[in-house]
Amino acid sequence: MTALGFPEATGLARLRSIRVRVRPGIAISSVIVLLLLVALIDPGLLTTRSPTAIDLEHTLLPPSLSHPFGTDDAGRDLYTRVVYGARESLSIGLGATGLAMAIAVLLGFLGGLAGGIVDIVIARVLEVAFAFPVLLLALLLIAIYGPSLQTEIIAVGIGSAPGYARMVRGQVLAVRKAAFIEAATALGHRRAAVIGRHLFPNAMRPLVAMITLGIGQSIVWASALAFLGLGVAPPSPEWGALLDSGRLYITTSWWLEILPGAVIVLVALSVTSLGRALQHHLEGAAR
């Protein structure tokens, strides 16, 4: 603006120009993720009640000022339970995404670097894996090992790994052809050094955003399993478990299902949109 000779906007006009640049979606997402972090570090900061305090005189109360999310069948404050459940839900999301990424990076790099028959075999294995929908593969694993927290994490992790593996493989193949890799090889660097110092960091960069996207997805998948009664068992305030225990009362006490579900949706949406923003940012930096 100033370069063109226009005076620098001041006061209200300037405020307005700043407001336009802050995208509202990103702002809301950041606030939600911030609240989530507070809930992870110290749930007591967001609520004064206890997630396990049973109050049989106030069961199944609809949302009100004193109970913003209402109460459940044992009179426990649902909002407090959601806040305390964040830790477990997010650790499931992190665990599953971590496992999925570990498998994906291993297969993707192996295929992308080794090439030849190894790559063909890995590509075929992934193709077979793609034929199984995430939820069904997860259910198969739960049928084999029985429902538990560990199985849930492993099931969601393995279920979502093939998608990431394909992306990692594509990334490795793309970076491998880049001029700076050729340059490094031409300069006489050892293969291991080229891979470790140049290829790996550059191929991994877009994965940072993918991990963020993956956490949101994993929380949703894990809560879907719990919704089917195959995840973390109900007395826990884990979000999926809240959905599972609320299903009995769906025709009378809507808040038990809809509100924890809305929190899952909001968290997944926020994490995802921050991940997307990060992705755009990183891609912009790469160009």
Binding site: R124, F132, L139, L140, A143, I144, V265
Partner: protein
């Protein structure tokens, strides 16, 4: 799929440069079909060997499941179970029996019900298929309607459309289902809470499946649609005096649905996952209910049977999408 296929096609082409396009198309189709069969075989191997992962002795697990308690059994008690399920044969023979059985439509025997898996699944397949197909069709109808009404309109309306798509695309099916159920079956009593397979009871399950998918398909189509509307041939059509609605319907839509069609094959997996949840939420008969019951009783043959059937449907559907492309799109045919 393409690595082997491409290699064969190029060598053939280089040896005989005058290879007729028809012959090339036939060759391409054969390669695709063979690959699909191999992938199917791979999927069957996965479901077969997954049964070996069950911890502990399988015959003991089966007897425990039937008796409803955990205990040890003598060899004499285990022998008939081992014989019935073929556990006493070598692994290779069991595997070949399983694969051979698949060709005769035999998916193994249920651990809990002692009858063929095909019988357990059998009647439940149709309602699930109806639900999935209706879900896909409804998703397309919603996606196309939203695009036609909102894409490249006034800024506010366009933004409304794309926000709607972004929002619905990220909603998990169970939550959509719960909200629809509470609003339209509990608060406003238009639809039944547990609808079975009646037409009225199918509306909410179908919508539950369709809304998130419609958002996803819409997001993919919108970009293409808006790009196409800027093309010179659209301007030409307008100068011929063609109305806006006709331009959108006849020209723009046709050119912009291709990516979403491809993704519909892929979306089948998401639809089936959604159907499992929807059937359990709405108490609708189908493989979803059977599946969850089987997972709970750890009846691995039934679970892996259903998983294999779904994988087979997915592979065949995507093969069909692929083949349709090879036949329709000249650009793909000649490469």
């Amino acid at each position: 799929m393409s690595i082997v296929g491409e290699a064969t096609v190029t060598t053939v082409a280089s040896r005989r440069p005058a290879a007729r396009p028809v012959a090339r198309t036939v060759r391409r189709i054969i390669v695709k079909v063979v690959t699909a069969v191999l992938v199917l075989l791979g999927a069957a191997s996965v479901t077969y060997f997954s049964q070996y992962l069950v911890p502990g002795n399988r015959a003991t697990a089966i007897l425990n499941e039937q008796q409803g308690r955990a205990q040890q059994y003598s060899a004499a008690q285990l022998a008939p179970v081992n014989h019935k399920f073929g556990f006493d044969k070598p692994v290779v023979v069991q595997y070949l029996d399983y694969i051979g059985g698949l060709f005769r439509g035999n998916l193994g025997t249920s651990y809990t019900q002692f009858k063929p898996v095909t019988q357990v699944i059998g009647a439940e397949l149709l309602p699930s298929l109806v639900l999935t197909v209706c879900g896909l069709v409804a998703a397309w109808v919603i996606a196309v309607a939203v695009i036609l009404l909102t894409a490249k309109r006034r800024r506010f309306i366009s933004a409304l459309g794309s926000t709607w798509e972004a929002l619905t695309a990220s909603l998990p099916p169970y939550w959509v289902g719960v909200v629809l159920l509470v609003v339209f079956a509990v608060e406003i009593r238009i639809f039944p809470v547990i609808g079975g397979t009646s037409v009225l009871g199918t509306v909410l399950p179908v919508l539950t499946l369709a809304l998130p998918l419609a958002g996803f398909l819409g997001q993919v189509t919108r970009d293409e649609f808006e790009k196409v509307l800027d093309e010179p041939f659209i301007t030409t059509a307008r100068t011929r005096g063609m109305g806006d609605t006709a331009v959108r319907l006849v020209h723009a839509l046709r050119h912009s649905v291709l990516p979403a069609v491809t993704l519909s094959g892929w979306a089948l997996g998401a639809l089936v996952s959604g159907a499992v949840i929807v059937e359990n939420l709405f108490g609708r008969p189908g493989i979803g209910q059977v599946l969850v019951t089987a997972v709970n009783s750890r009846d691995v043959p039934v679970v892996s049977g259903i998983v294999l059937v779904v994988a087979a449907v997915y592979i065949v559907a995507n093969l069909l999408v692929d083949l349709t492309y090879a036949l329709i799109d000249p650009r793909l045919r000649d490469t």
